[in-house]
């Protein structure tokens, strides 16, 4: 599966990226994690408020950092 973390480099965005990478490892998922930092690409994917999280093309969270449990749930659901 393909996971995109979108953020222009703010502290929250990096935090989300770390948590996603951690979850992927923890859950032993076969996933590619991409960190998108270009403002235009972020906008064009439909995110209006960073950090954003896109799993398999679906926007699952914007403007906040979900709890670790929530991230894991989202990833398991998308698997």
């Amino acid at each position: 599966m393909e996971i995109k973390v979108l953020g222009s480099g703010c502290a929250k965005c990096k935090h989300l990226l770390q948590m996603v990478e951690y979850s992927v490892k923890e859950l032993n998922l076969d996933a590619k994690v991409i960190y998108v930092t270009d403002m235009i690409s972020i906008s064009l994917s439909g995110i209006m408020n960073t950090p954003g999280l896109i799993v398999n093309g679906k926007i699952v969270s914007t403007g906040r950092v979900p709890r670790l449990e929530e991230i894991k749930e989202l990833l398991i659901k998308a698997e």
Partner: protein, 337 residues
């Protein structure tokens, strides 16, 4: 009852106790004579820094908690149901409660435009968002009183409504970069369910995020304010920005436009200038120019709109701020403020 409220206002908002504490500390504990310039600079600096950080922490927490109910996505869906000038009004009002930082102007611009909102409505939102928010209004009230703060909100919203409506009137859609109209790639799912605990956590995160972003502007702003307060002669400020100089508002606006600072950083400068006798309208123009327009945010916007639209946007807002400045300078003495 009225005296109770004014007591509450003095202690909680203007923090008279803190002013007294700081003055007592520097005169009685440190032993600096209260007639000196050093004394007035130091007391101004410490009183303002402490007051602003206390108020900011409380206010950002409260407003972030409220904002967790008004996400940008919800704002967009509310706006898509309104048409015409009412849409500009709703856009300006939502701009005051939706979380915003100038870094998110591009995603919001693209997100709104793609959803089919008229760009005039988006601009109403983009003008009011940095200009008016809960924290800045309460801080403004703590320095200049509630009348001024509410007037500020009113003219800020009017500026956003008129600015956005003019952009609609001029039919500027063709000056938006064409890639903005490309098809959306991802589908928007619901943004999860937030419990009260999630919202509290969100508010705390916002608080630490915003404090990390603005603390340096506050310190610089209060520093400049303290210098003006203690060391810059009133006669000099009077000549450049005083009521007798007919160009004072224009000078204040033009100087403020390219500057990038948070409203929290400009407030202490405004406070010091008013104490030196500068007209309130002149000072408000400076503050509005600094917060509504800045070089970094214009450079960002340039990526999504063509130069012509950008020039129209900057001109409308600049002229609007200048008019507001002269209006305030004219009205406030009449109102006895």
């Amino acid at each position: 009852m009225a005296t109770f409220f004014s007591w509450l206002n003095d202690q909680l908002l203007r923090m008279v106790w803190l002013d007294n504490l700081v003055k007592w500390f520097f005169s009685d504990v440190i032993g600096i004579h209260s007639d000196t310039l050093l004394y007035s600079s130091l007391t101004f600096f410490f009183y303002d820094v402490i007051k602003i950080f206390i108020l900011l922490s409380v206010l950002i927490y409260i407003s972030s908690y409220i904002q967790s109910y008004f996400t940008v996505e919800k704002t967009r869906s509310i706006l898509s149901k309104v048409k015409g000038i009412p849409a500009n009004i709703v856009g300006s009002l939502l701009g005051t409660i939706t979380p915003f930082c100038s870094c998110s102007s591009i995603p919001i611009f693209i997100g709104f435009t793609k959803a089919g909102l008229p760009i005039g409505v988006t601009f109403s939102f983009l003008i009011s968002s940095p200009l008016v928010d809960l924290a800045s209004v309460v801080l403004l009230a703590s320095i200049f009183g509630w009348k001024i703060a509410l007037l500020y909100v009113l003219v800020g919203i009017i500026l956003a409504v008129i600015g956005g409506s003019l952009i609609t009137l001029f039919k500027m859609e063709k000056y938006v970069e064409s890639f903005v109209y490309q098809q959306i790639n991802g589908s928007v799912e619901e943004n999860g369910f937030l419990t009260k605990k999630d919202r509290r956590r969100y508010a705390l995160e916002q608080l630490s995020d915003i404090l990390k972003r603005v603390w340096k502007y506050v310190l610089i702003g209060v520093g400049i304010g303290a210098l003006i307060h203690g060391y810059i002669p009133a006669s000099f400020i009077e000549t450049v920005l005083g009521e007798n100089n007919p160009f004072s508002v224009i000078i204040a606006t033009i100087v403020g436009v390219p500057m990038y600072a948070d409203i929290f950083g400009t407030l202490p400068i405004a406070e010091a200038l008013v104490l030196k006798g500068v007209g309130l309208g002149t000072v408000l123009s400076f503050m509005m120019a600094v917060t509504a327009l800045s070089l970094p945010s214009l450079i960002l916007l340039k990526k999504v709109v063509k130069t012509k639209l950008l020039v129209v946007f900057v001109s409308i807002v600049t002229v609007g701020i200048i008019i507001i400045g002269y209006l305030f300078n004219f009205i406030t003495p009449l109102m006895g403020i």
